[in-house]
Symmetry: D2
Subunit: 342 residues, 4 copies
């Protein structure tokens, strides 16, 4: 059986990545592609790399007949997303890729995003979309909130440790290195090739990055008490990839064993041999996440490093993985492509 | 029915690319991976991006039982390839990715490659592997010689014009821009990141690049008289992609029409609207070739530009496309993945 | 004696490059930096790489007391530049980096730039700023029009041949590979790191690039009859550099000899040994231009390749070289820094 | 007065960088360039970006008449360097850029570098070359040991804090992001453009990087008790730059004040306004080091980030700064060039 999906926000990178992935999916068909400002254009005009595909012309959201749609991907900017989703049919399955439905507490949402939430009803029913840890809820969900790409990476590196008693919960540092596509297609000086390539820097230092809202929510919930991590993202001159270097206090070998056990049956999480460092080179364009654990020379300290592709496992791949569950398909359908290297 | 294949030279880029592609193929199974100097290692150790796959351990060629192999990909350096292939079973289907069996005339081979050919018998039976133009011969071939990646790109941009009478055959200039993976995994100073990134240059200028042997052979054969093109390759700081900017004398609109017609039924060749320039950005990691035709402001001159991914359509993708034909499979099996952008 | 200069358009790349160069100049002092939209900011806020310098705060042009200024660099967008320059004191020495005063014929200006020229008086007195060929005029000029960066590169590769009788003037092809900083700090999707890196493409194909106006003007003037070249620029993923691969018909060795002779006394033009290809890697951040000549395998054809840094020799370095002449300083003052490699 | 210098190891990146810098120095002349394997070649053949300079031909060390040399730069690999220096005249001023004379304790040297030290006499007299902290000793030294580039960056970010009592000395984490030129011109697969660009990873994780020997030595000496830091370097796809993100426990504003005070008179150290993140983009090709301090959202934690160019301030620029002191020249001579951006 073929499922018909719509993608709202098809002119952005996560929208295009969804099309790339779904083009290889055995049982999902793209029935509508919406992009308000580019409505009327073909997808080939907006993204020439997709010109070989037979795709619907870009339209406005208002032109879509949602009664013909089995599931809708929302790849819109946050804030826009909540407004659009509030107006969609109440029984339509939705995977949202924005930040709008990730935080359970409306006050937390407003604190991190600056505006009161405009779709509280939908927010309440939304399920957090980190597939490996919310699989059952996602299977039965109507609205799934895709996680932040940094938030996903950090959680893959830390969740199995939060409840394990293996690490000191008050001494967690995440130093993230992020590629530029995570910033989307936004026209900003610092995202220009001339300004971004050949150098790198930290940004949102000091605990101001919005994905901290997700870390706080999820880690505190897991631990049953407030957990606050230190998180510094860096922008590096590459297009895809997030590398989370995580500094924790605990026994490295026990931590490695915990990861091996926690992810033993996961199709997309690869725990590397002890002492091995993962690289974003080895996950590009794929839905895999590589995790490595190493002991520091200082006793009682470990370094956990996770690598994934922000556009795939960190965003559109995760979204499709969740959609597969919601549609009753094999969770890995359309997602087993190997990374692109070199 | 599943076909069993061996890949000789699995520790190079074209070998790894074959594994990436075949990992998504519905009816081909990798039964053996050979790499003389890395025999005994797992593929995950040599190429960590393939660690999610269940693959045979790297072995020596001598360890392979070819009676269990339906088709063998040879991704070895030229000269080595002819020696290895001469010693393989005479009825084994082979797709060779090296330069060894591309040139029909042993004297031409020696002229361009510097050594006398050591497998003349096999050379004689080899079929030139430019699928779109040798489809029938390839279907029935035992040994197919994959084309040079630059040679493939230039031919996609020129073959339909050579026999058409539309252009002046003595006034063809190919200015190619090549990404670095075409040079393979060779350890050379000019291929280091520090020396290659941030700049670019021509190389093999003046008509000394070996792929000229293929252009001469194919274009002269097509035209029924000697045709010599001018060809200057450039090395640019990117990993995948060849862009052939071809300067010809002829009517641009007629040339465009000739391309539209010649490639109308080709699954992998996309002729862009008249006046549009293709980009290597839009074919990365895919088996597609994009072709654009534009009229110059000087009357009677046209610019034909072709873009493809040297590792995929220019090498391993082409090899799999040919293998599909040789094995009686759908020509496009395992090859319809969309390009990776951004 | 110290000369006081103003830089109008200090928040763009060519403005910043001027500051970089002048910071090492023995006898030029920056007295004013104007940037209309960023007036009030310090240069360190706009360009943190210049924070070690003691510079005037950015101001509006109207705030500058030009009676205290010996020479003014205009690094403004074309069209804006002519409006601003028309209003500046009539005796102020000016080096303009925009396109506004490059073309002698107002009709040609309008043809290529789309608007009627608004400063015809100044246009008439302007001297074309290709230092090596207009040295005497520049020395006595009040207003010098900096050349286009592509136009400069192509002219270094061709001017000595136009009057020599060594090449066929109707068979000249320029295939240019340009780095991205030539496009300035403009916010466009195709200039984003995510869209530009990892691939490359031709643009303005078919003879539509505005720098053709300069080629036509200069080459025709030199030849004493209309000369039209074919010119295709390409955008490559690097920040600085232009490589002009020029295809001409003529004797390569004679051409090389002509270059050696023409540039024998030039401090910034390096003619490489015959058969050697220059690289943009080897001129980055410097005011040098490297030129190589090679014979093609087809008799009677030669390839001339020129490489320079578009922001330095192609723009701000050229501007300072001209300013040196206009101010009676040593032409090379502040310009002898070695390229940055790697 | 002009000082004559020799550069041993002129065919590597730090050797070439020395030539670049010295080419603009008012009172240093390069009298000899040695490179054993490339002896007989011109520098232009080895590094075409230096072809405009009038330089001595590359020779063997044994061919240099050291009686004519005022100061010798050794840019040789470690281990080779100690052997060569042991054989040089005992009164020759030397700036060594290798690791051989950085560690005071021969046992520590052997622990980190694996071989017993072969020039103990010279090791004993060597002065550690971190100019800003050893200025007086360097001025009177015969042999100065240039620091590791990572070690320099980490020390600029931490030294003022070690003696201040402002931070917890047992809780220091250095997460470094290093560009590739720090690895030198070594031919290794992971340094190829195809393997390094487009991704990034940690290496030498767990406290195995050799520069830890320097951190241990210097920080323990400063503190008067053993201090061990946690240090994880990462390789990022850029050619120049080190960014040290340092996590410390202490009051961020007090830390910032300590930096402002400590570096108030330093010509090359720029302390950014509180809360500002430095970028390697803004120090490329220069001898500047930018330092930023930010408070984390978790009280009592601060992030100190330092950025410099590994080849300049981290190596050859530092070496020239030290040579200036040893020769009685202005410390900043030849070193005030602005960074290259973009």
């Amino acid at each position: 059986m073929t499922h018909k999906v719509a993608i709202l926000g098809a002119s952005g990178y996560t929208g295009a990545e969804l099309v790339r992935l779904i083009s290889q999916h055995p049982s999902i068909e793209i029935a509508a592609l919406a992009a308000e400002r580019k409505a009327g254009l073909t997808m080939a005009e907006v993204f020439p790399h997709l010109r070989h595909l037979d795709l619907p012309t870009l339209c406005k959201i208002s032109e879509i007949d949602f009664s013909q749609i089995d599931l809708c991907f929302c790849a819109l900017p946050h804030k826009t997303s909540q407004e659009v989703i509030a107006a969609l049919p109440k029984d339509l399955k939705i995977v949202d890729l924005s930040a709008d439905f990730r935080l359970r507490d409306p006050a937390e949402y407003e604190k991190w995003y600056g505006n009161p939430h405009a779709a509280l009803e939908q927010q309440e029913e939304a399920v957090y979309g980190l597939t490996e840890f919310y699989r059952d809820e996602i299977r039965g969900a109507r609205l799934v909130a895709g996680t932040g790409c940094n938030a996903a990476t950090g959680q893959f590196a830390l969740r199995p440790l939060i409840t394990s008693g293996l690490i000191d919960l008050d001494e967690i540092i995440l130093d993230l290195k992020c590629a530029v596509s995570g910033a989307g297609r936004a026209l900003k000086e610092n995202l220009l090739h001339a300004e971004l390539s050949e150098g790198y820097n930290a940004y949102a230092i000091g605990g101001t990055h919005r994905h901290l809202g997700e870390f706080d929510q999820e880690f505190s919930k897991l631990a049953g008490r407030p957990v606050k991590v230190q998180f510094t993202p860096h922008l590096v001159p590459a297009n895809r990839g997030i590398l989370a270097t995580t500094y924790v206090k605990g026994d490295a070998e026990a931590i490695h064993a915990a990861f091996v056990s926690a992810y033993a049956d996961e199709p997309f999480i690869e725990v590397l041999p002890f002492g091995t460092a993962p690289s974003t080179h080895h996950v590009r364009g794929s839905n895999f996440c590589h995790i490595g654990v190493t002991a520091d020379r200082i006793e009682g300290r470990a370094i956990v490093i996770a690598a994934l592709d922000n556009l795939t496992k960190g965003s559109s791949g995760q979204a499709l993985q969740n959609a597969n569950l919601m549609l009753g398909e094999d969770e890995t359908a359309g997602l087993m492509m190997a990374p692109l290297f070199p």
